[in-house]
C-alpha cells in the first residue's frame, strides 16, 4: 500500500497548481492517466482573464462573469475568482510563464467573449500549453511525486469519508491502493460524451463519474458549453482569440450575421449566444454546403495572424487545408466544456469528507449556465491554489482517516475478477465501440445546442438502453500492459453515467438559460428555475434536487449583448 498525505488525481493546470501549493507544507503526489504535460489543459489557446488593466476593475470582471453565467453562477465564488486573478497571473509570471508583452514590457491582454475590457493574459495562442509546462517545471523543482498513466478506479470510503483510492497502473497492469488523508480531484471534463467535441481522447469524465458513484453531489450537469468556432469536420479548436484579435463570422451572403443577434458585442458575444447564432444561420439556409459558416481573418494581415494566432493558422492549414491569412476558415460549433461538475464550496470541498475538487471537474460554481472565454483557465489556477491550501490545512486539523483491510478487500474483489475475466471465444455482436458511437451521436444530436422535451425524453430512454447493452458487454479484462481496451470500456461506463445525468437535467429544466436552450421553453424563468440542479446517485439512477444560488450583489437582469 502506498501512502501520501494528499493525493491529487489529474495533472493538468488545476492538479499541478494544487500540487505545488500543497508541496510547500505537506507530502503530496499526483496521479494522472496521462503524463502531466499531455493533459488537455495544454490545448487551451485563448488566455487567462484577470483585471490587470488600469481602466479595468475586479468589479467589472465580477459583473461580466455573473452576467455571462446568466445569473446562475454563485457570486461569492465569482468574487474569489476575479479578486485572486491578478495575483495569480503575477505568480505564474514569476514561475516563468512566457506571457506575450506590450511595448512597455507589461503583460499584454486581449479581448475575449462577453468581457467589457481586454482582460485575457496570453502567450500567443498557446496560453494553456505554456502555463501547463511552466507548472510542470515547477513540479520538478519541488520534487512532486507523479504516478503517470495510473488510472483512478474507485474512491475508498470509511466511516462516511474518503480515505484512499483504488488505482490501476496501466503499464504494469496491476492495482494499487493509495491511502491519503485528503484527495483532490482535478480530472477535467467529459467532452468525449459527444461525437462533436474539441476535447482530447482522455477527456472522459472519470473523476466526475467516480465521485458521483461514491456519493458526491454533482451540480448543473445540463449546462454544457458548445464552442462556436471549431474546424468543420474534425472539431479541432479555433480559439476565441481569433475573434478577439478581430476575426469576423460570415454566412453564405458574406454578411457579418452577429449584427442580428448581438449588435453591440458582435463576434465577441458569449459563446452560448454565438453558437446558437451560427446554428440558426445554418438552419435558415445561410450555411456553406448546409453545414458550416466562415471565420474570416483575411482582413487582419499576415503579420498579426503569424504573431498572435500561429497555432490557429497551423491547425487550419493542416486540418482544414486553408491558410486563414488568405482564405476564411470553415467552422461549426462543438462541445467544449462542462460547466457542471462535482459540487464544491469556495474552498473546493465536496459533499464527501476527505474529497476536494478543482478545475473543470468541479462546480464551485463560477460559470453558472455559461462560461466566459478565459475564465476556465483562470479558474484552474485560482481554485487549484485554493484547494491546495485547503487540503494542507485540513491535514493539520483532521485526524488521519482509518482504512480497514476489509474495505480494501471488498473494493478489490470485483476488480480482480474483472482483470482475470476471459475474453469470449467467439466474436461478439456488440462492442464498446458500438455503444460509444451511438452514445456520442445521440448526445450531439439530441442533447446539444438546441433541445426539446421530446428529443430529451427519447435521449434518456435510449441512454437507458445503451446502459443495458453496456452491462452485457464482456470486459476486455486481460492483465496485459497498456490495455487501452480495458480503459476504454471503463471510460464508456463513466460517460454513460454522466450522459444520463446531463440529459435528465436538461429534460427537467423547463426554461432556457445560458448554454441550456429549450426550443419548447425559450425564455429564462427566474421564478421557477433560478437554482442549481443537484444530482445524487439513487437506487434507480440520478435523483435531482434544487440547490440555492449565492447572489451577493447583482440581482438577475435581462441579459443582452
Amino acid at each position: 500500500m502506498i501512502m501520501h498525505e494528499v493525493l491529487i488525481v489529474g495533472g493538468g493546470l488545476a492538479g499541478l497548481m494544487a500540487a505545488l501549493t500543497v508541496s510547500a507544507s505537506a507530502d503530496v503526489a499526483v496521479l494522472s492517466k496521462v503524463y502531466p504535460t499531455r493533459s488537455h489543459s495544454g490545448a487551451a489557446q485563448g488566455g487567462f482573464n484577470a483585471a490587470l488593466g488600469e481602466d479595468d476593475s475586479i468589479e467589472a470582471h465580477i459583473f461580466d462573469t455573473v452576467k455571462g453565467s446568466d445569473y446562475l453562477g454563485d457570486q461569492d465564488a465569482i468574487e474569489v475568482l476575479c479578486a485572486d486573478g491578478p495575483e495569480v497571473i503575477l505568480e505564474l509570471e514569476r514561475m516563468g510563464v512566457t506571457w506575450t508583452r506590450r511595448a512597455d514590457g507589461g503583460i499584454a491582454q486581449r479581448s475575449l467573449g462577453g468581457a467589457g475590457f481586454p482582460r485575457g493574459c496570453f502567450a500567443a495562442d498557446f496560453s494553456g500549453h505554456v502555463v501547463l509546462h511552466t507548472l510542470y517545471e515547477q513540479s520538478l523543482k519541488r520534487g512532486v511525486k507523479v504516478y503517470p498513466e495510473w488510472h483512478l478506479l474507485e474512491l475508498l470510503v470509511e466511516d462516511g469519508g474518503v480515505a484512499g483510492a483504488l488505482v490501476y497502473d496501466l503499464a504494469r497492469a496491476r492495482f494499487e491502493v493509495i491511502r491519503a488523508r485528503q484527495i483532490i480531484l482535478a480530472t477535467g471534463g467529459y467532452g468525449r460524451a459527444f461525437s462533436k467535441t474539441t476535447n482530447g481522447h482522455a477527456n472522459t469524465g472519470d473523476g466526475m463519474a467516480i465521485a458521483y458513484r461514491t456519493g458526491a453531489v454533482l451540480s448543473d450537469m445540463e449546462f454544457v458549453q458548445f464552442h462556436p468556432t471549431t474546424l468543420y469536420g474534425t472539431n479541432i479548436l479555433v480559439s476565441e482569440a481569433a475573434r478577439g484579435e478581430g476575426g469576423y463570422l460570415r454566412n453564405t451572403e458574406g454578411e457579418r450575421f452577429m449584427a442580428r443577434y448581438a449588435p453591440e458585442k458582435m463576434e465577441l458575444a458569449p459563446r452560448d449566444v454565438v453558437a446558437r447564432a451560427i446554428f440558426k444561420e445554418i438552419k435558415e439556409g445561410r450555411g456553406f454546403d448546409g453545414h458550416y459558416v466562415h471565420l474570416d481573418l483575411t482582413h487582419l494581415g499576415q503579420a498579426l495572424v503569424a504573431e498572435r494566432l500561429p497555432q490557429v493558422r497551423d491547425l487550419a492549414i493542416r486540418y482544414a487545408g486553408v491558410d486563414p491569412v488568405s482564405v476564411p476558415m470553415p467552422i461549426e460549433p462543438a462541445q467544449h466544456y462542462s460547466m457542471g461538475g462535482v459540487r464544491t464550496d469556495v474552498w473546493g470541498m465536496t459533499t464527501l469528507p476527505g474529497l476536494l475538487a478543482a478545475g473543470e471537474v468541479a462546480n464551485v460554481s463560477v460559470h453558472g449556465a455559461n462560461r466566459l472565454g478565459g475564465n476556465s483557465l483562470l479558474e484552474t489556477v485560482v481554485f487549484g491554489r485554493r484547494v491546495g491550501k485547503k487540503a494542507a490545512e485540513l491535514i493539520q486539523q483532521e485526524p488521519s482517516p482509518n482504512l480497514s483491510r476489509e474495505t480494501v478487500r471488498r473494493a478489490l474483489e470485483p476488480w480482480n475478477a474483472l482483470l482475470l475475466s476471459r475474453l469470449p471465444d467467439s466474436p461478439q455482436a456488440d462492442s464498446t465501440f458500438a455503444v460509444r458511437r451511438e452514445m456520442t451521436t445521440l448526445m450531439t444530436n439530441q442533447v446539444g445546442v438546441f433541445r426539446t422535451g421530446s428529443e430529451l425524453e427519447d435521449a434518456v430512454a435510449r441512454l437507458g438502453q445503451l446502459k443495458a447493452r453496456y452491462q452485457k458487454l464482456s470486459p476486455p479484462g486481460q492483465a496485459k500492459p497498456f490495455n487501452y481496451a480495458l480503459m476504454d470500456y471503463l471510460e464508456v461506463g463513466y460517460l454513460l453515467d454522466l450522459s444520463e445525468i446531463i440529459a435528465r437535467g436538461a429534460l427537467a429544466r423547463t426554461e432556457s438559460r445560458g448554454a441550456h436552450y429549450r426550443l419548447d421553453y425559450p425564455l429564462r424563468d427566474d421564478r421557477n428555475w433560478l437554482h442549481h440542479t443537484f444530482a445524487r446517485r439513487g437506487g434507480e439512477g440520478p435523483e435531482l434536487s434544487e440547490g440555492s444560488v449565492a447572489i451577493t450583489r447583482y440581482q438577475p437582469q435581462e441579459r443582452g449583448y
Binding site: 503524463y35 488537455h40 498557446f126 500549453h129 517545471e137 482530447g200 474534425t234 504573431e307 486540418y319
Partner: protein, 216 residues
C-alpha cells in the same frame, strides 16, 4: 482511399521479437495516421498506442512513420501514403519498446533534470520584458515534449535534445538568475550545438527555431 497500414506489434508477455500486423481500411487522404491507428484498434482492441489531443499539442502520439519520427495526429494519410506502399508505423527509435507502439518515457522525462529545467528567478527582476525578448522565448516554449528530437538526433552529448531546448529557452530568459551561464553547464560541444540548432526546425514537429546567435 483504400490503405494498408503495417503496425509494429510486441507483447512483452509472449513475444521475443516485434512483428508486424497489417490493417486494411478506407480513409480520406485528409485524415491522419492517428485516425488510421484508431480504426486499426477497432479491428484489434489489443493494439496499444498513446493518444490524446489529436491536434499536435499534447505530444502523446509520437511514433515512427515510414522510418521517420512524427506525430501520428499531425501526419495526413495523403502524406504518409505518397510513396505508394503500405504505411509502416513503429515505435520511436532510441526509446525502449514496452508494448506495440508504446515506449518507455521515464528516461526521457528524467533527462530534463540534467539542465535545472525551471526558472531560477532573479532577485532584481522588475516584472518587465520587451516584446522582442518575449517573442524569442516563444519558439522553444512551444516544445510539447513529444520526444521526437530525442529520436531524431543521434548524439548531442550528455544533455539530450529536448532538455537542450528547455535549457536554451531558460538561458535566454531575462528573468533567469543563471541566464546565459546555463550554456556553460551544458558542456555540449559548440559544433554539435550549432548543428542541432540548424537541423531542429526541420526535425521538430512544432518547427521550433532557436536564435543561434544568442546561444553560441
Amino acid at each position: 482511399m483504400e490503405t494498408v497500414i503495417k503496425v509494429c506489434r510486441f507483447d512483452p508477455g509472449k513475444d521475443t521479437v516485434p512483428t508486424f500486423q497489417e490493417f486494411a481500411m478506407d480513409l480520406e487522404g485528409t485524415q491522419t495516421v492517428l485516425d488510421a491507428l484508431l480504426l486499426a484498434w477497432q479491428q484489434d482492441p489489443s493494439l496499444s498506442f498513446r493518444r490524446s489531443c489529436r491536434s499536435a499539442i499534447c505530444g502523446s502520439c509520437a511514433v515512427r512513420i515510414n522510418g521517420r519520427p512524427a506525430l501520428a495526429c499531425q501526419t495526413l494519410m495523403q502524406q504518409a501514403s505518397a510513396h505508394g506502399g503500405p504505411i509502416i508505423v513503429e515505435p520511436l527509435p532510441h526509446f525502449r519498446q514496452l508494448k506495440d507502439l508504446v515506449v518507455d518515457l521515464e528516461p526521457f522525462f528524467d533527462s530534463l533534470k540534467a539542465v535545472v529545467p525551471w526558472l531560477v528567478l532573479r532577485d532584481d527582476y522588475d516584472g518587465r520584458m520587451t516584446p522582442e525578448v518575449a517573442r524569442r522565448l516563444e519558439g522553444p516554449a512551444t516544445c510539447i515534449l513529444c520526444g521526437i528530437c530525442d529520436a531524431e538526433f543521434d548524439e548531442t552529448g550528455h544533455v539530450k535534445p529536448a532538455a537542450l531546448v528547455k535549457a536554451l529557452r531558460l538561458a535566454q530568459d531575462p528573468r533567469d538568475a543563471a541566464g546565459i551561464h546555463r550554456l556553460r553547464l551544458l558542456q555540449t560541444p559548440p559544433e554539435i550545438l550549432k548543428l542541432f540548432l540548424k537541423e531542429l526546425p526541420e526535425k521538430c514537429p512544432k518547427g521550433i527555431t532557436i536564435d543561434a546567435s544568442k546561444c553560441l
